[in-house]
């Protein structure tokens, strides 16, 4: 419980930063921090494998990809972003606050309905593997197909449309 009490506000703060920070790279780095803290949360909860995978995939790949895309696209100035913030915030909050309300309402209802087991629980890698390839075998295959398709698709998308080198005649 104590680690949870420490982690939860940290995660929320980092997530808030990721949403709030005007400079895109800061937002992306804070996203990486949020995801890393999430991974620690999983470790604390006893899902070691999931936590490490989360760290590897999210921090090592997704966050880095996002950061890298930011580098390549060199997003525009933040002053503009800050200037139009009040207006966008109104619409944003108008849409998201009801969602939050509904969610929290459901959480409160659930608390009254459900009972929580508090015994320590962990999942061994062997157990996970066995389940993965027996109960969830079709899902694994589907994900495998999806990932292959994604790899090919991403490669096709990202490919330069015909390598073009600048020549004097361009100008």
């Amino acid at each position: 419980m104590i680690p949870l009490l420490i982690l939860t506000p940290l995660i929320l703060l980092a997530a808030l930063g990721a949403v709030w920070k005007a400079r895109p790279v800061h937002a992306a780095l804070l996203l990486a921090l949020t995801l890393a803290l999430n991974a620690i949360l999983y470790l604390v909860l006893g899902a070691d494998f999931i936590g490490l995978i989360q760290f590897m995939v999210y921090v090592g790949a997704v966050a880095v990809l996002i950061v890298f895309s930011l580098l390549i696209t060199r997003p525009g100035d933040e002053a503009e972003e800050i200037a139009r913030r009040p207006r966008s915030l109104v619409t944003g909050l108008a849409c998201s606050l009801p969602v939050l309300a509904v969610l929290l309402f459901m959480v409160s209802r659930f608390e009254t309905a459900g009972s929580a087991a508090t015994d320590a629980r962990s999942v061994s890698i062997e157990q996970l593997g066995t389940t993965l390839f027996t109960t969830h075998a079709p899902a694994v295959m589907a994900v495998g197909v999806l990932l292959t398709a994604v790899m090919i698709g991403a490669a096709l998308f990202a490919r330069e449309p015909g390598k073009k080198t600048p020549t004097p005649s361009d100008s």
């Binding site: 600048p166 020549t167 004097p168 005649s169």
Partner: protein, 385 residues
């Protein structure tokens, strides 16, 4: 890439505006590990691809030409050492050659042989160091450079024995050389020439088949022949592209027509060819050295009537050029009959070879720029003068 010479001088003015924040403007130099001195390139990059490259030089400008016009003919001789400080003796010879042409001075036989020997040794120094430098530009942490310098030191020892200085030789005089070969010098030189072949074998084994070097240098930085000729490129760079132009053959000076040697010519003219041509040239230099050492006659090392003090060439004009290790090195002198030249002008091969840098680099990587610059083989002392 540029395909014909009509495009040569119309490199694009970079468009600004919408694209501006997508391009990266980088100033390579003047303090940069691989600009071979204080040289700067204003590079505009798209990602890592070069979109535009403007060389900026003059950081090492020493006013050589004007100083020479205000000093006696002899006083400029030590300054020529400092033009291309890798090969001072070639510079000495080029200047002496120009003055001798201007004043109509004869050079004794022995002095001519000494000059050939020294110039070819200088060529060895230059090309060996070149191989080391270009590997350094490629990031091969100095091994090749150290091997090159190890051998270079041996040649510099010879120079020290002969001229009294390792690099700033100040050795050639109008009508010969400053002093005679010390006893045993020719023998030492002969031994060096004998040992140099195995060293070149080792160096070639080290470099020529190296897959990374092949991948980095082949098809990088080549330009069509006519562009090179129009751009005034000379030396190994021009010969790597297959143009047979070597002043030792085209307009033989000194006694080069007496020696049996060949001019290696490449085909494509990329960085790899430039490296290879230099290796092959070194082999030819060794041949010349062998012959010159064998034929070295006795006699005067300087024309007996050569004047050291109060030297006044007759009124006139002369352009003397030699095949320096980097290309055509020429001195253009106008005399008004006084002790100082009226006009003194250097044609520095490094500088003129550098003019096509941007054309070679466009569309290539930042990493290629460094190699191409290395393959041109510049010395900033000569570029900036």
């Amino acid at each position: 890439m540029i395909s014909d010479s009509s495009m040569l001088y119309s490199t694009p003015a970079l468009e600004t505006g919408d694209d501006e924040d997508q391009l990266l403007r980088v100033s390579l130099g003047p303090q940069h590990p691989s600009t071979h001195g204080v040289f700067r390139m204003n590079v505009v990059l798209d990602g890592e691809t070069v979109v535009s490259l403007k060389p900026v030089f003059g950081y090492l400008h020493r006013n050589h030409e004007k100083i020479a016009e205000n000093a006696t003919y002899l006083s400029s001789m030590p300054y020529t050492d400092r033009l291309d400080y890798i090969c001072p003796l070639s510079n000495n010879w080029a200047y002496a050659h120009a003055v001798e042409k201007l004043a109509g001075i004869e050079v004794p036989e022995r002095a001519e042989y000494m000059r050939v020997i020294l110039a070819e040794l200088t060529r060895l120094i230059n090309h060996t160091a070149f191989a080391g430098f270009i590997l350094g530009d490629m990031g091969a942490w100095g091994s090749a450079l150290m091997y090159a310098f190890r051998e270079r030191e041996k040649i510099l020892d010879l120079f020290e024995d002969l001229t009294g200085a390792r690099m700033m030789a100040n050795f050639m005089r109008f009508g010969g050389c400053r002093n005679d070969l010390p006893a045993g010098w020719a023998m030492k030189c002969g031994k060096l020439v004998d040992d140099y072949g195995p060293f070149l074998d080792e160096m070639e084994k080290f470099l020529v088949g190296n897959e990374i070097l092949l991948a980095r240098t082949q098809d990088v930085g080549q330009l069509p022949k006519d562009i090179l000729i129009n751009g005034g490129i000379t030396g190994p760079m021009l010969r790597a592209a297959g143009v047979n132009y070597d002043i030792r053959k085209v307009e033989p000076y000194g006694i080069y027509e007496r020696f049996d040697f060949r001019i290696p010519l490449g085909e494509i003219g990329d960085c790899y060819d430039r490296i290879m041509i230099r290796f092959l040239e070194m082999r030819e230099s060794l041949k010349i050295l062998r012959q010159a050492l064998d034929q070295l006659p006795e006699g005067d090392y300087i024309h007996p009537k050569a004047k050291i003090r109060n030297f006044k060439p007759p009124v006139g004009e002369a352009y003397g050029r030699i095949e320096g290790p980097k290309g055509e090195l020429g001195f253009h002198l106008i005399s008004d009959g006084t002790t100082n030249p009226y006009r003194y002008r250097v044609r520095p091969p490094s500088f003129i070879n550098l003019t096509l840098l941007e054309d070679m680099c466009l569309g290539l990587d930042l990493a290629d720029v460094v190699i191409i610059l290395g393959s041109i083989d510049i010395v900033l002392g000569e570029v900036d003068r």
